[in-house]
Symmetry: C2
Subunit: 358 residues, 2 copies
């Protein structure tokens, strides 16, 4: 398929951020977007890069009623020498297709996903921020666009990619989070949509996050929906525990998002000779390990923050400080290594970097 | 708030259906729609009735990423004498507000919801079908419209109502459904969003529904997400069992949609002197009762079909006919009574009817 390019009228270019360090996440968007339509009888069609603009959506568009929508999140990094990097984008394209299958949506050829993003980055390359730490956030999205009321998989879809520059997540060093363990609300459950990157999982996180916020915590730690006993995720991140000198993270049993940063941390740890255990971990074990001092570090992993150290945890109205609230050595090491690889400052022994060449 | 009215250009009126009996559900929409915006600092504002048209949505509109959206479904009925009826609309407005609270969205004053629908029905009253059984389907919807990437409750929302004529659900008498009991996939779980009428619950039903369809069944029967032992709902309906001469339906424990037809059946049954039990019911008990012949009837309840008799049920690869697949006496009686009340053909001892007067 040939991608049509319709550049923005130069007079209508969106203002570039005056100060990259002041960018608020998710509020500034680049000049262009990629769009492509799907119809059941014709497949994907009409791929195009157009000026960033409002979508025309029928008020009965199925996504607005039945939540048939999935997305991805990745970043474009500008290295000091001007090269543009993506971090394991193939993983995003593959996960988008896994999410699609779970939601009964059409898949998109991985090579074509690369091509679509390539065309978009090419026309908007000046939007990729220049300072190390800042990046271009990329949001591929697929939604059910068919105008139809009645629950079933749609026959028409829209796939689009929007991008926007974002500031460094930690401009002044780590900002550890405090987490509230929810044993009342659950994000998802085995047999549900937990492992798909789909809107439903985020919708079900809102209420508990507000409860946590009111209690003075920044994130929710989710327990499994069946027994409310095993740790699953934190906020919108995967979670890791350093117990003594081993790394523990919950296994991917269907209700947990298979995070790309999660996978990278596991690979890096193994590479460094750290014992990594993907195994069920009970919240009681977590609390015991904090109490005994065996818990050296707790951190979340995700695309936005990369590593998000946890300083404090509240469970059943009791609060626990993790390692006096200080950022752990491993958190810092994983962060430095991954960010270093992303910006081409460190070697990439895993072949994680995809260099975008225009 | 004053509702502005912008009537459609007469030349642009949408074609009215030539044959009301041929209307497909959810595909035909009336000439106008109601819209209203919400901003965190200003509350609900700018209520208006405008021609039915595409919504302009930013591609970063939060609903398209994080699924913050809720809806309602009700019908407008034209009686033989020309009166226009709604069935328990107050229940819809109240449920919309309960769903809103669960999704951290703003509520809408119940009286104003009435007023908004009233204005819309007034301008589109000719769209309400004339034949008994057909009706005007009404879809109030609230979505997070704020352009923003990042998970949190939005600060801007859009509320809208669209309507469209629909044919009688059973033009030639009941069409019993066959149901597939899913013990692999779950719709939701306690601590999740199950009791809210929100997109997430429908999204999580798609995959299992396709599995059921491939196996030759029309609907999925959902079990609880914790033990996969207790019956919850069927498809997008509540479920009732007539065991001997008692009526059993699962209780509203948080993961089940509090259906308005469900509530009406319970009230009618009590009115008729039938024992109704809102109690947990195991799938094993259901199967045993079918086997022993104690299970006289199984039926779903919902706004679209009112009563949907179940002829067959498949559980763990075994299939069970319910009462030889024949429509039960109670299913017919509940259906006739509720539909009779809706169209003003039967007395309404409960005050369920809201007459729309223009």
């Amino acid at each position: 398929m040939k991608i049509k390019i319709q550049p923005v009228d130069p007079a209508k270019r969106r203002p570039k951020p005056a100060d990259e360090s002041k960018l608020v996440f998710g509020k500034t968007f680049s000049d262009h977007m990629f769009l492509m339509d799907y119809k059941a009888e014709a497949g994907w069609q009409d791929p195009r890069v157009v000026p960033y603009q409002a979508l025309e959506m029928d008020p009965s568009a199925m996504v607005l009623h039945y939540g048939q929508g999935i997305f991805e999140g990745l970043k474009g990094y500008r290295c000091r020498d001007g090269r543009i990097h993506l971090f394991r984008p193939q993983k995003n394209w593959e996960r988008l297709n896994r999410s699609a299958r779970k939601l009964c949506m059409p898949e998109i050829d991985v090579a074509f996903q690369f091509e679509a993003l390539h065309e978009l980055l090419k026309i908007d390359k000046d939007w990729i921020p220049h300072s190390i730490g800042s990046s271009l956030y990329i949001r591929p999205t697929m939604i059910a666009s068919e105008p139809h009321l009645g629950v079933r998989p749609a026959h028409e879809y829209l796939y689009y990619i929007i991008t926007g520059p974002v500031a460094a997540y930690y401009p002044e060093g780590f900002n550890p989070v405090t987490i509230y363990v929810s044993d009342e609300f659950v994000r998802t459950v085995r047999g549900g949509l937990g492992e798909a990157k789909t809107m439903a999982n985020y919708a079900s996180s809102l209420y508990a996050a507000e409860v946590a916020k009111k209690k003075g915590f920044t994130q929710v730690l989710w327990l499994d929906g069946v027994e409310r006993r095993f740790v699953e995720e934190v906020g919108t991140m995967n979670i890791f525990f350093r117990i003594k000198d081993e790394l523990v993270t919950p296994p991917l049993t269907g209700s947990i998002l298979p995070g790309i940063t999660r996978d990278s941390v596991i690979q890096l740890a193994a590479h460094w000779g750290i014992q990594v255990h993907e195994r069920p971990i009970e919240i009681a074990e977590v609390v015991d390990a904090i109490r005994s001092g065996d818990m050296k570090e707790v951190f979340g992993t995700g695309t936005a923050a990369v590593i998000s150290p946890v300083a404090e945890m509240s469970y059943k109205e009791k609060s626990y400080r993790v390692q006096k609230g200080e950022v752990g050595e491993w958190s810092q090491r994983f962060y430095d290594e991954i960010v270093g690889i992303q910006y081409g400052e460190k070697e990439d022994p895993f072949g994680w970097i995809y260099e975008v060449k225009f």
